[in-house]
């Protein structure tokens, strides 16, 4: 069996068994947040890890999705899934329009441009209080379709788990396809990929839009789940958090992304006992992880494993 198929199976089993082990709905809550974060991070990794284009503004897209759902359902009474789709479409369109000029940039200028994008989005959300509720945030109704409402942590867990599984499957397929190789080739050498007939701009735009749409959808669902959103979720720090999840988990590793999201979502929960020292301990763990597993959790551990097997 291919490693990716095996990984997907393991993920499915873990997701299926987990509910039996979680003692109360607080633990479900953490699991749901992990799954929803992981969805965004898997999408972002396609852009960052595989295609080599950094984005420090992805929380902006996440926020756009969340606010589209919030505003359209609360103020205009749209059905949740219509709002979600509209948010995803609008985010995709915005990403599409901006991708061309933005992705012409490289390295740190690209980082800065995407950072700027994210900041502009979060400022707009912050300032347009008459729709968005401003800095204090806005309440979001339940997620429902055809009269069925997702209610309770167990149902939400099912939704998040299925979504994560689906996104993981799609991402794994993509990577191991001509399109996925084109993306990785762009990372490796842009000239070489263009000479091989790859329209690099077009592919960069596609993966940028794709990851933005994934973030938007995850944003919408998170908004419904939490029930209340603030501009923070579109802000700079959330973007950094997402990037950190990608790198800690491992660039160009889908399962790494899931683990990265899990670790960085869990840590603050585990560290809450440290009273005032949480930030320090969190920072120290972050550094230690990167020093001892420089390629991120999954790739580094993978290397160690194969080393042991052969050596």
């Amino acid at each position: 069996m291919k490693t990716s198929t095996r990984g997907l199976l393991i993920l499915a089993v873990v997701l299926a068994v987990l509910p039996l082990l979680l003692p109360n709905s607080y633990y479900f809550d953490v699991a749901i947040r992990i799954a929803l974060n992981a969805v965004v991070v898997v999408g972002l990794n396609l852009l960052m890890g595989y295609t080599g284009q950094i984005s420090l503004g992805h929380a902006g897209f996440f926020g756009l999705g969340a606010y589209a759902s919030a505003v359209l359902t609360a103020n205009y009474n749209w059905p949740p899934f219509a709002a979600l789709a509209a948010g995803a479409a609008a985010t995709g369109l915005l990403a599409f329009v901006l991708a061309r000029p933005v992705l012409k940039l490289k390295g740190h200028t690209l980082a800065m441009a995407t950072l700027g994008l994210g900041i502009i989005i979060s400022i707009a959300i912050n300032n347009e209080g008459q729709w968005t509720g401003g800095p204090d945030g806005i309440a979001v109704g339940a997620l429902s379709a055809f009269g069925i409402e997702v209610a309770g942590e167990k149902q939400w867990y099912a939704v998040a788990a299925v979504l994560l599984l689906a996104v993981t499957w799609l991402a794994l397929n993509l990577i191991d396809s001509p399109v996925g190789r084109a993306l990785q080739a762009i990372h490796g050498s842009e000239v070489a990929s263009r000479v091989a007939g790859i329209d690099t701009t077009r592919y960069k735009v596609r993966v940028f839009v794709l990851s933005a749409v994934v973030a938007s959808i995850a944003g919408s669902i998170s908004a419904h789940y939490v029930g209340f959103i603030t501009p923070n979720m579109a802000g700079f720090f959330h973007s950094i958090e997402l990037v950190t999840m990608v790198v800690v988990g491992g660039m160009a590793s889908v399962f790494g992304s899931i683990l990265g999201a899990a670790l960085l979502t869990l840590l603050p929960q585990l560290l809450s006992a440290f009273e005032g020292w949480e930030v320090v301990v969190f920072g120290a763990i972050l550094m230690a992880t990167m020093i001892f597993l420089p390629r991120g959790l999954v790739p580094s551990v993978g290397l160690m494993f194969s080393a042991r097997k052969r050596g």
């Binding site: 396809s177 007939g197 329209d199």
Partner: protein, 251 residues
């Protein structure tokens, strides 16, 4: 097949290529030689769309393609290797070769994400073919290797395999034998000949005169960005200007 007319390129004050014209016949092996810094690589970069010419035309099968981007040229059957290696170090060796076949595979994002059977089948076939090409280029033992683990000489051949995977009509090779010893150069020579025999037009830059003289149907000599001489191997070798500027008395 390929006609270059009055092609020029300057970088600021440096005239890297000046008013160069020549024609490459279909199915032939055409060599470009000249001293270091003569403009050979720049010429390749112009022809393959990596650089935009300052002036002049590149006519590929009747169509002026000057200024066209490399991916559009690839669609028209052009492929190349690089003097400064451009191997994707983030991928495995065989995936590098498969990238070369990109244009012949399904490029639909959704088909790829859904792993449609057609995509999967074509991909598997492509992988087999890539392995064959690696064998053909003499790097068969690296089929399971990651590109970053391969030595320099093997990477050069990997690039050739990648270029061949595109099934090009015109193949430009920039110093394919650099970093190879005589025996290995001999293998490369045989490989290029085989490729040309299969109907591919080959343009080649190389400093190994033995290889150039053995292979080339036609040789173009550049010096300071300008055409210095042109002709068959024998003609070029006999040209005193070429001997003085490039070959030296020994050759």
């Amino acid at each position: 097949m390929l006609t270059i007319q009055n092609l020029s390129k300057s970088f600021g004050g440096v005239h890297a290529v000046q008013d160069v014209s020549f024609t490459v016949k279909e199915g032939s092996i055409h060599a470009v030689i000249g001293p270091n810094g003569a403009g050979k690589t720049t010429l390749f970069n112009l022809v393959t769309g990596v650089y935009t010419p300052t002036s002049g035309q590149v006519v590929l099968r009747g169509e002026n393609v000057a200024g066209m981007s490399p991916d559009l040229l690839a669609r028209r059957g052009m492929s190349r290797t690089f003097q400064n290696l451009q191997v994707c170090m983030n991928m495995s060796a065989i995936e590098n070769v498969m990238v070369g076949a990109h244009l012949r595979l399904n490029q639909n994002l959704f088909a790829s994400m859904l792993r449609l059977p057609s995509v999967r089948k074509a991909d598997a076939a492509c992988r087999d073919e890539a392995a064959r090409l690696m064998e053909f280029a003499g790097v068969g033992k690296y089929v399971d290797a990651h590109a970053s683990q391969m030595p320099y000489g093997a990477l050069k051949r990997l690039e050739i395999a990648r270029a061949l995977a595109a099934q090009p009509k015109v193949l430009l090779l920039d110093e394919p034998a650099a970093g190879l010893n005589h025996t290995e150069t001999g293998e490369i020579e045989a490989l290029i000949r085989k490729v040309a025999q299969s109907g591919v037009t080959v343009v080649l830059v190389e400093h190994d005169m033995k290889l150039v003289m053995n292979l080339s149907d036609h040789i173009l000599v550049l010096d300071y960005g300008k055409k210095l001489a042109e002709g068959t191997a024998a003609e070029v070798r006999a040209n005193p200007a070429v001997v003085a500027a490039y070959l030296g008395a020994a050759a």
